[in-house]
């Protein structure tokens, strides 16, 4: 999919210019310190649906932007 990302500084640019950044969220029910560390390092929510994620415009303004995207069809959400 030729995904394009809206950069607040540079406008809509090709995906190739960006580096992906996941926002890791460890659920509250994981209690132990070790278990939380394990989850933080390795586990992913990996949902099929809406996600909030960060993209770094490395070949552009070199700033981070937050994007909402539907992972089932790669459409950007408001």
């Amino acid at each position: 999919m030729s995904l394009r990302i809206d950069c607040p500084n540079c406008g809509r640019r090709n995906l190739d210019e960006f580096v992906y950044g996941e926002i890791p969220v460890t659920p509250d029910h994981i209690a132990g310190r070790f278990e939380r560390d394990l989850d933080r390092v390795f586990m992913h929510d990996n949902p099929a649906g809406a996600v909030v994620e960060r993209w770094f415009h490395v070949y552009g303004c070199r700033r981070w932007t937050t994007v909402r995207r539907d992972t089932t069809n790669d459409q950007l959400l408001d």
Binding site: M1, L3, Y20, L38, M43, H44, N46, V51, D74
Partner: protein, 404 residues
Amino acid sequence: MNEFIEAKVTLAWAESPKAAYDVVIIGGGGHGLATAYYLAARHGITDVLVLEKGYIGSGNSGRNTTVIRANYGIPEAVRFYQRSVELYAQLEEETDRWIMHDTKGLLWMCHTESGERAERARARINTACGSETVYVDSAEVKRLAPQVDIAGGGRYPVRGASYHPGGATARHDRVVWALAEGAVKRGVDIMQRTAVVDLLREGDRVVGVRTANGDDIAAGVVVSAVGGHASVVAKMAGLRLPIRTHPLQAFVTNHYERTFDPIVASAELLFYASQTARGEMLIGAEIDRQPSYSSRSGYHFLQSCSRRATTLLPFLRNLRILRQWTGICDMSPDYSPVMGRTGVDGFMITTGWGTWGFKAIPVGGEQMAELIATGVTPDLIEPFRLSRFAEDRVLADRGSAGTH
């Protein structure tokens, strides 16, 4: 058997499920069907139901690049995939179906000093673990694959390659159908167009599945052999997996004279190419960088992949792209599969098949079947357990995936 005229295969699909099975397998792709097949063929366990959301082989089993090889970089993986190479070679005889298995040899080219070191190390570790791989120089590369531009367009000169004579291809849907037929013949039920919407649980234990038709089916053990949506199914069991789902694209060109013998790959330029039985050049490369469940293909992949492929295979410039497709891959953080028990009673997984699932279909099924039948995790897949992440025993082998 006539290779060109074959009788149409009709399978006795299950119309409606029984109330209970010994084993319910979610996912009617290669790994799910291979597990069912080996359960029935090797262990006599036929009280098995395979549930498939679409039609069999409609997921990643029908969307891969059909490469079979064992030239990995760590002992655990070399042994595991070598077993798969051997099982693939005997699958036609075993199932009495022609899967178009073709041993072609695989050249993994390197262009830099560090690349050469990596390929020499690969040859050594493969040999030590029972898989044949040798390091060859550029003259030998030219002899094995005359189409390769050894000068690499001036910028990527080929220093040499690790040559893996056991590298092979097989027709993906024939593999799926051969396994499905072998399983159904022995009494396994396969239901197509039946999605699993939830897992039935008693306390912490998984005791069955609920389908989209509203059927509750009890199971002694539930196996998730899902490709792509592994995290979604695991979530039904309250599990979080070390998996991110990424699209992987590939394309074929129009027909070329059938003279391109081996499978060629370049880890540094990041692409691999082989010729299909129809004469199309099949080319694949790296995964898309965004995690996604979308199987739409895109132009940027065609552009970047073609540029790299034509650097080493200039004749591709004269060909046209015929079609392109995308599979959605369960990428594990260490580029090795995740198989076996999950810590949730009654629920097993075979996932993390990322971009290397097709080559592991027979061995994955055989080993999962043995685990289910005997209750003991076989030595071959013990290193791939889910708990390895908590134990700090990850099996990092990124360089052998060929897609990064």
